[in-house]
Amino acid sequence: AMLGLQLPLLVTVQINMELLLLTLLAFWTRLSQLSYPNAVVFDEVYYGQFVSLYMKRVFFIDESGPPLGHMILAVGGYVCVCLCVCVCVCVCVCVCVCSCAEYPSGVCVWSLRLLPAVCGSLCVPLVYLLILELRLTHCTALGAALLLLLENSLIVQSRFMLLESVLIFFQLLSFLCYLRFHNAPHSSWSRYCWLLLSGASCAAAVGVKYMGVFSYLLLLGVACLHTWQLIGDRQISWLMCCVCRCVCLLLVPLLLYVFWFYVHLSVLYRSGPHDQLMSSAFQASLEGGLSRITQGQPLEVAFGSQVTLRSSASQPVPCWLHSHKANYPIRYDNGRGSSHQQQVTCYPFKDVNNWWIIKDPGRQELVVSTPPHPVRHGDIIQLVHGMTSRFLNSHDVAAPMSPHAQEVSGYIDFNVSMPAQNLWRVEIFNREAESEVWKTILSEVRLVHVNTSAVLKLSGVSLPDWGFRQLEVVADKLNKGHQSSLSWTVEEHRYGTSQEQKEREAELHSPTHIDVDSNISFWAKFLELQWKMLTVKQEESEHKYSSSPLEWITMETNIAYWLHPSTNAQIHLIGNPVSWGVANLSLSAYQLLALVYLLRRRRGIKDLPDDAWSQFVAVGWLCVGGWAVNFLPFFLMEKTLFLYHYLPALCFLFLLTPALLEHTHSHLLRALCVCALAAAASVFLSYRTFCPLTYGRPELSANQLQDLRWRESWDILYRRR
């Protein structure tokens, strides 16, 4: 739409009816009957959880992607709450986001699914504009928009609470803005607004899913190329251009990306289910959870302190140094012997047996002196188990599961000439950042066995039944650099006051509280969260509907999203087969054509005028490049992949098809109109055919469903009746 203002106040509005109509159609196909089916569909289970955590403002980690996507979905949740309040359906407020089985009210379902659907609809006009920016005709733009409009898989994916449509929207937006910027006359400064918007939408795309990174890189590459040409142009002061581009395309996206995390961390301030993955310091900054326990603890660990020691390794599970009244078996299953002393393990739950007392080897008392004598880096300590009063000990006996390392035990004197070796040296690993004094939560400590200079280590292996399947703790001599399994932090801490064993046991059973507060900065939290998200391994398991990238091109698989509990009505992620075929055809045609052109140009034969050639190249980098960066990286990924991962790449192919048709029409063959029309008609027909599987209604009979199974490998379900 174009809007011109003239004096005296006359408003002339020019509206592109084509564009308007397309937008309306897009909204109609994506938004109609959005609240049907009124049930949780496929991955909505997964995203629904996160939305409800947002509503409760509970901290969580989702390693699959940065937080912006979840936040956008959560906006839907807030809208839901607002709407519910407006219509005074109070029940809805509390249930709509928490329940996972069935959305109770149509309103909530509608509002939760609204934003992805709107993004999905807006992709259609975006594509139209994008084609125009490539300096192609309106017909071509119309063709591309139609392909996108009538693509069943895109419709299905946008109609639910899923993130692909949002990702595609931001990707297309960033390219559109960049092209606007590039095509604008060089004199105007307003064009930098477009560049800024392009950078922002790149950040948004990356913020929704990490896959966005690759299209961002493509855009950066193209921008670099354009800038490189600018540098060669001696009339322009290139420094200014470069700086502006760097700010808009590098700095702004980076800041925005951090900003998503800032919002994420400031919205989610309560402790929740994923706390345990984070460091103690991080946990302490969340409300509830650890901070409730550690609030008011003394900060400096002193001789006589009662502490729980948490392993810094979050693999395989976070756990605390633990011991209990059970000894190592005299002989293990494989015939090796043990010291038969008391077991020392790592236990993943809070337990009174996790308490240890730090003892000065030179003193008898187990209480903190006044004033407290803090433990420093390099001090020698003994560790006494609170409940059993055994000393933490290690010796030259092979550990139960990792025979290359030393066994760690609670020392029992069996009178078998095995003297106690229970001195440990405290090494504070991060003493440069923190201090020489051992601090609760903040200090990462290594305990070095004085006699053998082995280091207390969580081996990560589970003990068999005799060890109650707890985790094995060993002392390892091969201390290679910094490993999280070697370092321990004090989590709960109090100054011991009771001298007698009975009193002490009572004291250990009582909950802790005394007073200090530990704050960590936003940057520390951001870096830790980001690092955890990138390194936490998802369990690799195959899903019933997972597939491999090669199957996507030919659409060998589908995903059954939803099946009506009693009838044959069902929703599937199945693309429009005709569109996919046409898209694949145009991809190979483009590559072939490009090869021929390149070889002939190299031999000095110019088939195309220069501007047509540069247009052909531009179409190539946008469409083929966009397809490649959104598709090829999946071959290197080792995670569970689904057909919907292909949708962003597919959108770029849909841009290519009409562009290539126009190119062929104007430079090679002139009688393609009929073909194009026939293709459009068949695209529409196959869209109509698959509509029942896209919208979940009308219900089809078993025979009709059987007819829709165009490929042997598709899983379409029908009830035997």
């Binding site: 290139w238 020698i380 990792s402 290679k480 650099g481 899903h543 019933k544 190299r602 031999r603 000095g604």
Partner: protein
Amino acid sequence: MAKGECTTQWSKTEDTCSTLRNRKAFLSSEKQQQDSQPKDGDNSQTAGHSSKDGTQSSNGTSAQWTDRGTDPPRKETHSSVLLLLVTVLSFSTRLYKIMEPAHVCWDETHFGKMGSYYINRTFFFDVHPPLGKMLIGLAGYVTGYDGTFPFIKPGDKYEHHNYWGMRGFCAVLGSFLPVFAYLIVLELSQSRTAALITATLLIFDTGCITISQYILLDPILMFFIMGAVLSMVKFKQQTHRPFSAPWWLWLVLTGVNLAGALGVKFVGLFVILLVGLNTAWDLWGLLGNLHLSLVDIAKHFLARVVGLILLPLFLYVTIFAIHFVVLNKSGPGDGFFSSAFQSRLIGNNLHNASMPEYLAYGSTITVKNLRIAGGYLHSHWHLYPEGVGAKQQQVTAYLHKDYNNLWLVHRQDENNSEKASQSGAPDLVRHGDIIRLEHKETTRNLHSHLHEAPLTKKHFQVTGYGINATGDANDLWQVEVCGGRKGDLVKVLRSKVRFLHRATGCVLYSSGKTLPKWGWEQVEVTCSPYLKETPSSQWSIEDHINPKLPNISLSLLKPHFLEILLESHIVMIRGNSGLKPKDNEMNSKPWHWPINYQGLRFSGVNETEYRVYLLGNPVVWWINLASLGLYVIMVAVASVALQRGVPLDQRRRGRLHFCGLRGGGLLLLGWLLHYAPFYTMGRILYYHHYFPAMLFSSMLTGITLHILLQSTDFLLRPPYSYWLQKVGQMLLLFSVLYSFYLFHPLSYGMRGPLAHEPASAMAGLRWMDSWEF
């Protein structure tokens, strides 16, 4: 700074708390040290001095020449003197102390063993192509090693066995690396200074020395890689006279070296890629040359196809042909291969096998999957763990021969008692019959049900169920001979059989995925509801024992050579990707490598043992790392300047373009190709995987530092800039030599206390905590 602190920390702890045990160890080792120390030190010191003098003088003179230009004959003699010097130094550093230690070090246990297999002609399986091990075997054979040493584990003493030939062969090939590097850089940069810098870095790198001195594949691999690059560069030099004899010679040599590199390890693919890209670029340039007719271009193209594709392919296939001809006895690798393949091997039970021809009820059989390296249907006394389908006995596919692969064939309604009472010739199994397969060892029936399979969730789980032949309806399978009709007999070894599950209609399937630890890393077996006929769902009967039937000698169809080739490749690739890091092992990460983060223990751990530690000379490696960054910056600045049209004088421009961009670019690409792919590999990685990339990096360093030193004339006027250049060269040479003097015990072996103790020969040299010496 960190280093200083670390050492003080160590010494402090030693002072405060060194115990009696420590002292004792120290005393005992001191004596040995006294024995070995002086001789050691003297030797290397004198060697160091003489070499230093030698290179110093030659280095200086060469620099003079490059700057002033001279008469050709003297130049010729001098360059050959330099080459000779590089060669002598290289050989002497690599061959020094070649016999020590006199025990098996690290991977010698594998490659030495495989060398022996060639001498004994025993068939084995390895994840690498055969050329490297064949050459090792040949070297051993020629030098009188008889193949009897078992190479059981690292640390085993060689005693009277003749191992010097194999080590010496590797060391000789390894000694060529600095020479090749010298020639490549000389060719690329036309500067002897750059070439000498490269050669110095490589000759005095402890890592390169160590890795060349043992029976390993790496020196052989790197020899071929460098050979290929050298021939490629030489070939390029012949551009102006195409199709002449030297042109053909270098083309063919490139091809031969490529085949060699690929024949040793699949890492050779990277150098093939490098040569391929370079050739494509070359051809692209030829295509743009409008003076050449299309026919000429076609000739060029065909010549390269022949020299760089067909010839290497032919050689590579030949290597495998020799491999299969030489190894004709049954050995540890049989089970990985198909029945037809095994029948070739002398001593295998399928070699000239005789067994009942048609499958019968009551027979004991083994069932082999027809997928390549599909494995035998297997079960054992272990259950599926909690949470993986039903908790019943595991059924897997296993690649090795084992008594747990044996199954009994029963009729659907037949019980044990009936079987016992049966007499006379047993009935034969026919297409369409319904049978029950009983696992011989555990007496459980092959069973499937509607639970998800452990890995392939679309399929159903297959278990062992029931005991002593009592089971349920889910134990019944229908036999189907592929391409057969109802009533057809099942031929042992030749029929492709499918087992259809009676109750659910699915087909017995081997997915090829490796089960986790609970499944002993064997291959998953499932029941697939997709009934397409694929090798994964087809099985053959391999062993067939039935005393009631006459044995008939079966001569199998001899497998075609290409089939064997394909089969062994698939087995190798699968084996390679199956090398996953174990939990206990410290996994080396690719980013560790360029910073020399952590080495590899070749021999010895304790204070009393003879220790060799594979670690690059840190000074050399860090210079390399810095030069990489420097090169990128230099190229960026230079190309912006060129693009912007900054006026540069002709000489500098030529130098920058010719050797900086073209030569350096090639080497940078080589480094990238040999390094970046490791980031995407799922298999276990080791430090020594970086060495090919390190060679490229060192060559790039030579060029980069040379250009940097030449650029001193930006700063100072001619006579001073020339002196500065000299000082820079001296400094570089001195630092490399001195660091080599410091770190040489890493390669040539050390005894006595570890580096954190002050009495150690390496005291104070543990600059990074992660080094383990």
